[in-house]
């Protein structure tokens, strides 16, 4: 149990998707102009991560890893399908996003309106595929660990994009050198925020 909690805290603050691994930077820079939309996208990422990472974990564990097919019988014990993992992961993510979109539209129209255009865009957000690939690299022991990792990373991303949006809303009133406006200053602020987040490492 403490293990699971540790993974959660670690993925929110220390291994933050944006500040430590630069995942999902494209949408992070493009959509962080207002806190409201940033929060919407952050929630959607959180949600999709929480669904796709555990699903990919199960697929990886029972279908793709070397020896994962042992449950089918003796003859399958040394089959290694791990070279397929990239294609399968991206297919699962694209499919899941499509499925989620339909389910949410049907049963939770309020949430659907709130997420809006962001939901389909998420299929090509590298934070999502990155979540699955890091999950594979870290070899979590159970599916619950991978779920806590997914939720943690999603929240970390949400935290990063909303705080960035809040800073950028304030930035409108700052006197920045002309060529640095827009993306230039956004990169530098992200770097400084990343430096701040490194304090959680505890040297």
């Amino acid at each position: 149990m403490p293990d699971i909690f540790n993974i959660f805290i670690r993925s929110v603050f220390i291994d933050n998707m944006v500040f430590a691994y630069f995942l999902g930077m494209c949408s992070y820079l493009a959509v962080s102009k207002s806190v409201k939309t940033a929060g919407g996208l952050g929630l959607a990422v959180c949600f999709v991560l929480a669904v796709t990472v555990p699903v990919n974990y199960l697929i990886d564990k029972y279908l793709l890893q070397p020896g994962a097919l042992a449950w089918l019988g003796e003859g399958f014990a040394d089959v290694d399908l791990s070279f397929l993992s990239l294609i399968i992961f991206i297919a699962v993510i694209a499919g899941m996003v499509q499925l989620l979109e339909m389910v949410i539209e049907r049963h939770m129209p309020a949430l659907y309106m709130a997420l809006g255009i962001f939901l389909p865009l998420i299929a090509v957000n590298c934070a999502i595929l990155g979540g699955s690939l890091f999950m594979q690299e870290r070899n979590f022991p159970t599916v619950i660990h991978s779920f806590s990792y997914a939720i943690g990373s999603g929240l970390g991303w949400l935290l990063a994009i909303t705080s960035m949006a809040a800073i950028r809303e304030r930035l409108k009133y700052a006197n920045i050198p002309e060529p640095l406006r827009g993306n230039g200053i956004a990169y530098i602020i992200t770097g400084l925020m990343g430096l701040g987040f490194m304090a959680f490492l505890g040297f």
Partner: protein, 197 residues
């Protein structure tokens, strides 16, 4: 030829269009992985552009995103396996970021904006030039990070030992992730102030 040169500076994918930033920053602590990454992205971008352009008239528009994703991931898996076979050390260093080329927005962006509406040869060249434009930024960032951060270039000691003896220290900050972001920010700044004049 001139029409292909846009991605190098005027329409640089990273500095101007903010595409493909995710993988660009994570691999630039040293020059070697940065160059390998740039080459891989160029190969994937060029060949997926070529294939999409060849079959552009047969893809139903409704499912084109999934078709594009599959073609891109085919090339990425190929590059990944090649790297693991011939450059095992570097592929360990790049870890998940080779896989993340699939969701690199430069590639999806070029497929959508260029390959779907142009002939194969221009699409191929467009892919190559965008890969090179992406690579240029990577190489510049990696050059400064490796030189100032570890005093080496391409794993060779560049800063003389004598300098360390009189008190020169490597700037440890350069190796940390946030510094990549700040360097790119500064590059945008420099570029912006030169272009406006």
């Amino acid at each position: 030829m001139k029409k292909y040169l846009g991605p190098l500076s005027k329409d640089n994918p990273i500095l101007v269009q903010t595409l493909g930033v995710c993988s660009a920053l994570a691999v630039t602590a040293q020059l070697k992985p940065a160059v390998v990454m740039a080459l891989s992205v160029t190969v994937v971008c060029a060949f997926s552009n070529l294939i999409i352009s060849l079959i552009r008239n047969t893809i139903p528009p409704r499912i084109r995103i999934i078709v594009q994703l599959l073609i891109v991931s085919f090339w990425v898996v190929l590059v990944d396996l090649l790297l693991q076979a011939y450059f095992y050390e570097i592929s360990k260093l790049l870890s998940v970021f080779v896989g993340l080329i699939i969701t690199n927005c430069i590639i999806m962006g070029r497929l959508e904006a260029f390959a779907l509406s142009h002939k194969p040869w221009p699409s191929f060249m467009d892919g190559v030039m965008n890969g090179v434009g992406y690579g240029l930024v990577l190489v510049v960032v990696a050059f400064f990070r490796e030189l100032l951060g570890s005093g080496t270039l391409w794993n060779h000691q560049v800063i003389p030992k004598a300098l360390y003896q009189i008190g020169y220290l490597n700037n440890g900050l350069m190796i940390l992730p946030p510094m990549a972001l700040i360097l790119v920010g500064v590059m945008i700044w420099i570029r912006g102030s030169r272009v406006d004049r």
